[in-house]
Amino acid sequence: MSGSGEREQRREVSVGHLALLMALVIGLAAFSILLIWLSVLDIRAGRDAMNAFFQFIMGLAGLALAGKSLADMTRMRLSSGEKPVEVVSVIQCVDCGHSAERNFSDGEYVGMLTGERCPECGGPVYVARIYVKGGGEERRQRRILGLPAAA
């Protein structure tokens, strides 16, 4: 499987795009710090307090924007970074009901006799369940809604 489930809802970006965004964020943060520094110098020197105040506010706003952009970037995912999903089959003994989980094999379906033998009683074994392990999207939504993680 190349990947599945809603856990891949994060925005995909290329390496170049991410590098450009990073450069812009760093530039914005640097400029904002410069503004704040200038405003502090102006205030210390007693020059044009109103102008210094606006510079300070602009610097703070720039820093906040850079911080938000950085937080957004941590939620992005590089295009090549798809995690493969794990499909598993739960096999169960026809006679004693003993069950075990293992990787899915091509051609298996629910209800199929696998031809294997039960390690407990030696009875025939069939595929009882096939599913993927996941649930990342739900965890993300619960986090957004401020709910505790589901059991």
Partner: protein, 398 residues
């Protein structure tokens, strides 16, 4: 050196911006005028870039789904070159909905068109994979349907993008740009479904047939309508006729026809039709949440739903539905553990409903609706199943 230059530039800009000379005012007004004219164009350019990126993504989804189909079909007779040529020729397949200006008989005409379409698909897939068995053919048919859908979406998005670019019409571009997230979500679902159907893994939409299989719990089954089987089990003294499409290939079958025939066979003894299907969840709802309601839970284009509603209304039969919530992506990609567990919950609720609302001796139909890929027709005899629903196995009624 750099810091000093930055200091100088910042001071100059701030001095310019902070002053109140007539020159500053003119610069400010000129800037506003230029931005007023170019802001819209800049916005359009940003939207066009978004659409172009989405088009690239859609093209990748389509070609990957197509390659997956060709690779899988090449195991059954034809060379990759020949397959590539044939699939490319068939990709733009379309169906024309019947005229509804005169609604009389529209359902019958729609059903005929869908039958012809299904038949055409089967013939085509048989021609590209002559050595494949029936179940594999059905999985390849589902893969082909995904490729056709992706190609169609790609062509439509490309059409509006080029039309917007040609006419510089902001509305065309804005509309398509705003729909892109949803379009990509759906396209991604079809793209990922290719892998599931190639391997024959149950998808989220298979939850209906999975419920039916577990409810049957090893009872004998037989075909009652095209690609639909049924078996009979006993639930607390009530006769339960369980209907599902024929697996483990990716089939939907004609459950409406099957239910109609069962109602005819059992006369007025049928008290309820209980349907189970996957349903689209709203954002914030949990995958695998089970909801109960009334009406025919089936997502077909119309004919099968109409047949079920018709027979239920004609014979005065209760029409009850259970829906298992999931996203469109989860419906078309390998089944999640939550959906698998929901199948057990549905069985318990169906059992409760039958035992509380109907008397011993009553006959109830339970129909597991959906694509039955990866779900067989019978659990081997003696199989206990994780879902102990307390049903007694019976042979199929004749």
């Amino acid at each position: 050196m750099m810091a000093r230059a930055a200091w100088g530039l910042s001071s100059f800009l701030l001095q310019q911006g902070g002053g109140d000379t007539w020159l500053n005012w003119i610069i400010m007004l000129l800037f506003l005028g230029v931005m007023n004219y170019y802001a819209g164009k800049l916005q359009v350019q940003v939207w066009m870039n978004d659409i172009m990126r989405a088009l690239g993504q859609l093209e990748r989804y389509t070609s990957e789904a197509e390659n997956s189909l060709i690779e899988e079909a090449s195991r059954f007779g034809l060379s990759r070159q020949e397959l590539s040529k044939r699939v490319r020729g068939f990709k733009s397949f379309f169906e024309i909905a019947p005229v509804t200006l005169d609604p009389a008989g529209a359902i019958r005409r729609l059903e005929h068109i869908l039958d012809v379409e299904r038949d055409r698909f089967k013939r085509f897939v048989r021609s590209i994979a002559p050595n494949a068995d029936d179940d594999k053919l059905m999985n390849l048919t589902d893969q082909l349907a995904g490729v056709i859908m992706l190609d169609r979406v790609y062509r439509i998005v490309r059409h509006y993008f080029l039309l917007g670019k040609k006419t510089q019409n902001l509305i065309y571009i804005a509309q398509i740009q705003m729909m892109i997230p949803e379009i990509l979500r759906i396209a991604k679902a079809y793209w990922k479904s290719a892998d599931a159907f190639r391997k024959g893994v149950p998808v989220g939409d298979s939850v209906g047939p999975l419920v039916a299989l577990r409810l049957l719990d090893g009872a004998q089954t037989r075909e009652i309508a095209e690609d639909v089987i049924y078996g009979e089990v006993d639930v607390g003294g009530r006769r339960v006729l369980v209907v599902k499409s024929k697996g483990p290939g990716g089939r939907l079958g004609k459950p409406g026809e099957a239910i109609g025939r069962l109602v005819d066979m059992f006369g007025g003894r049928i008290r309820a039709i209980i349907m189970v299907d996957a349903a689209a969840k709203l954002e914030g709802e949990e995958t695998g949440e089970v909801a109960e309601g009334v009406g025919a839970a089936i997502g077909d284009p119309g004919p099968e739903k109409w047949k079920i509603e018709e027979v239920a209304a004609r014979a005065g039969i209760d029409l009850i539905s259970f829906a298992v919530k999931m996203s469109p992506l989860e419906a078309l990609t390998p089944m999640t553990r939550e959906v698998d567990s929901a199948a057990d919950e549905v069985i318990s609720r169906i059992r409760e409903r039958i035992e509380s609302d109907y008397r011993p001796g009553d006959v109830v139909i339970v129909a597991g609706i959906g694509n039955t890929v990866g779900v067989g027709n019978e659990i081997p005899r003696g199989g206990r199943g994780d879902s102990d629903v307390g049903v007694r196995r019976e042979g199929a009624a004749s």
